[in-house]
Amino acid sequence: MPDDRRVAVLGAGMHPWGKWGRNFVEYGLAAARDALGDARLSWPDIQFVSGADTIRNGYPGFIAGATFAQALGWTGARVSSCYAACASGAAAIANARAQILAGLCDVALVVGADTTPKGFFAPVGGERRDDPDWLRFHLLGATNPTYFALYARRRMDRFGATDEDFAQVKVKNARHGLANPNARYRKVVTVDEVLDSPVVADPLRLLEICATSDGGAALVLSSMEFARRHGAAGPLVTVSAVSTVTPRFPNTVIEMPNFSTDSAAAVGSGADGASFRPSITRAAYEEAGIGPDDVDLAEVYDLSAALELDWYEDIGLCGEGEAEKLLRDGDTTIGGRVPVNPSGGLSCFGEAIPAQAIAQVCECVWQLRGQAEGRQVEGARVAVTANQGLFGHGSSVVVTR
């Protein structure tokens, strides 16, 4: 991997996930200070601030970069704010990385934080009859778990996944997150407890669906040259690829918040367009010049326990229909061949939308530095994240040591 495509990760920081009920700016600020301290830099050293937006916290959330910059104290740093739904954090990382690779700045701060309401995510207010996100609730009563459940049922039908398989994903992730100080849920869960929890959207149960959380995450990124000059406390970790791809037509898998897929009547469903999710990480691997066999650990978006199994295949850890075997063989458990969600994943965190894709990268950084106490994947050198934001936002980051 040539230097000219890599950026250094000097610092990673988080505010713990929970249901704290405070202003999202507090979480972002705490995470930013944590990352700056980790980087041994002070706030005035930052030349560019890249914020990941939240849409449920009023105007300050729409211009999150400036909100965090103001909270840290105006220094004249350049700023950007971006929204890409669940992929917002990766989009903010991509913006900071582009500034650094273009030589427009040496060192940048990426921040995302959220305060979430209780219960199902609902569309933002107002009656909008031309907004598919409003219409899917109004006309269908289709919540986010509706879509997760459609994928889960499809897995059961196509590949013979069982209720026990889905429960085992939850059991694994609960065990992974036990010692993670930033995780919201730190409790051993048994298969029976999962199966005894109420069905929300058949076949998915309450303990298999990720909660909505408050939290904040931040990264300090720099050019490789700056990192060498500044020096790193431990092994230098770098971001070697960021994928923010969109789907290819025709996208024939139903995607939140749509009512329908693309029509393949005119063009057929070719290999390229067949499915969006596998294309997300494929683009990141290509950019990093690696393949799935090189990956030591992965942080994937387990919005549901069943969706984690889809990701195993989508990021190339196994072939289609083989994810259940990978899980049952213990390959994706810490100590196995390629641990997935050593942080505990969304299962232990819940989702703080704009912070989540950044948090995935934070976990990879700590893992590759050997600082993931109580959940360390030994000797990890290459980590990958995968995530998808509604309305066609892919997100995948390759982190290497």
Binding site: L135, L150, D157, S263
Partner: protein
Amino acid sequence: MPALEGWFTLDPDNPALLGSRCPRCGTYAFPAASSYCANPACEASEFEQVPLSRTGRIWSYTDARYQPPPPYVPADPYEPFCIAAVELAQEKMVVMGQVVPGVSVEDLAVGDEVELVLDTLYRDDEHEYLVWKWRPLGKGRSA
């Protein structure tokens, strides 16, 4: 009256979703395309409105055990319902819809044939608002 104007016909016997077909490349869309074609190789800007296939096969399905938040307008008391994603053969696309009341997930399977019907989404003091729903064929056809 329809819960949303122009998305489906109100034919009491053979209702259909109103989609579009691109006159240039043949791509279908639902909701109907009005200004652009989803096919990146096509620059059409005008589209034929067409009724979509009234039957299809279940791609996947689930249910809603808990009351969805607004803008969903629930019955009082809340009644759980099923949702199906249905593959239309001619259009080569999948369209979601609620499943008619009285059907539970135990009655459904991937690949089952279903038919489009109109049913009540909710009522207020003045109107009954209609929406499309999927009804399993071979079960409760008179429902």
